[in-house]
């Protein structure tokens, strides 16, 4: 494993980012095993190619970009692509009270996120998880900067719709 000057050691990198990467992967895939695989695969790719990254300040973005690409690749390989249509949440929804969210556990939130349209899911999770700036989210997902905010907003609307539905089912 090669390492460019200024880059953290492999161990330090894993320590710093494996948790966030796993949470990102789980939010994308909704499956623990797949999330673990994606996280391991991301670090595996880093071990092979990380030394090619010239700017050490972009390690974090590189890791999340790589994980997202691997996720998209794995989705393309799947024969049965689970696509969730969420036309019902296109319009404006009443805000979901934080109390509603607090009644849910982490698994339920992840499950709801996994149902958000894939186009909006990744920016939305990065918005919540890693304090990425809009610019960093755009770079990590390779989308224009101008679309990041709108995708986050639409993803959030979908998430709120899903959580409202969940709440009604409970009631």
């Amino acid at each position: 494993m090669n390492r460019r000057a200024g880059q953290p050691s492999f161990e330090a990198l894993v320590e710093q980012y494996y948790r966030g990467l796993y949470q990102f992967a789980l939010s994308l895939s909704g499956a623990e095993a797949e999330a673990s695989d994606l996280t391991q695969q991301t670090f595996y790719i880093w071990a092979r190619k990380g030394h090619q990254l010239r700017d050490a300040s972009k390690v974090k973005t590189w890791l999340f970009t790589t994980l997202h690409r691997e996720f998209l690749k794995s989705r393309r390989r799947q024969t049965h692509f689970p696509h969730h249509q969420l036309d019902a949440v296109e319009g404006e929804l009443p805000p979901v009270a934080p109390a509603v969210v607090n009644q849910l556990d982490a698994d339920e939130v992840v499950a709801a996120l996994a149902q958000v349209d894939e186009l909006y899911r990744a920016p939305l999770v990065l918005f919540y998880l890693e304090d990425f700036s809009y610019k960093e989210i755009a770079a990590a997902l390779d989308v224009p900067l101008g679309t990041v905010q709108s995708r986050i907003a639409r993803g959030k609307s979908q998430l709120q719709g899903l959580l409202m539905t969940k709440k009604k089912v409970r009631e």
Partner: protein
């Protein structure tokens, strides 16, 4: 910017993270003017905080970190340093340089050797080896590690031996045989072929350096330079 436009922007707003965004700043200003929008924003921020907190509670599988550390570097087909292309190229260049450097230095051309030896004998020198026959001379060269397995041209064998020198040219050993013919000096210089670049071939090459005529050729691992104060015809008679 009206409140509806501000909502679109503030839905993706994180306090402390997106404050520098110009559109967020404008939308926040609108929220300060519109109490209803301000309440909505407050709820959004609370919702986001709750979602963020839940996501960060997501437990990471036990042993994941260990598996990453144990597997990724070991499984990575990291190229060993000696298999990397730049290393091979550098090694090849070093080998080539070591093999060919003695021949690639223009300063060590045969022409330079010829000019140097002619200058040396023409300037006068001290006879280091006193000998009156070829065998004694060869024996001394051999004993001191100078080229001694040279082959004398037929005509040279009949010349009178005056002695010899354990000479050097740019750090390379040169056996210098000092002979006499027709009342003037004749010299035979012998050097390792690999010590010089652009050495002559097996067929003798004739050239004149000042008042000295020379004939040079290579045979086996040695290069010969025969020089005389006479002319080319005389040299030809010795070969």
């Amino acid at each position: 910017m009206n409140s509806e436009q501000a909502k679109q922007i503030l839905q993706a707003y994180r306090p402390g993270v997106d404050d520098a965004d110009p559109s967020a700043a404008e939308a926040l200003a609108q929220a300060r003017r519109d109490p209803e929008l301000a309440r909505w924003l407050e709820q959004q921020i609370a919702f986001d905080a709750a979602i963020r907190a839940r996501l960060r509670e997501v437990p990471v599988p036990v042993g994941l970190k260990t598996r990453i550390l144990a597997n990724a570097p070991a499984e990575a087909p990291a190229v060993a340093w000696w298999q990397r292309r730049p290393v091979w190229l550098a090694a090849a260049l070093i080998v080539l340089a070591l093999v060919y450097l003695p021949y690639l230095r223009p300063a060590n051309t045969f022409a330079a050797f010829r000019a140097g030896m002619v200058q040396y004998v023409a300037a006068g020198y001290q006879m280091e080896v006193r000998a009156d026959n070829f065998d004694a001379l060869r024996e001394r060269f051999s004993k001191d590690g100078w080229p001694s397995d040279y082959v004398l041209p037929p005509g040279v064998k009949g010349l009178k031996v005056e002695g010899g020198c354990l000479s050097q040219w740019r750090g390379r050993k040169v056996s210098l045989l000092c002979l006499e013919a027709k009342g003037h000096d004749v010299w035979l210089c012998v050097i390792e072929r690999r010590a010089i670049w652009q050495a002559p071939g097996a067929t003798p090459v004739f050239a004149r350096e000042g008042r000295i005529s020379t004939a040079s050729w290579t045979s086996g691992h040695l290069t010969y330079l025969l020089a005389t104060e006479g002319d080319e015809a005389e040299l030809r008679s010795y070969l």
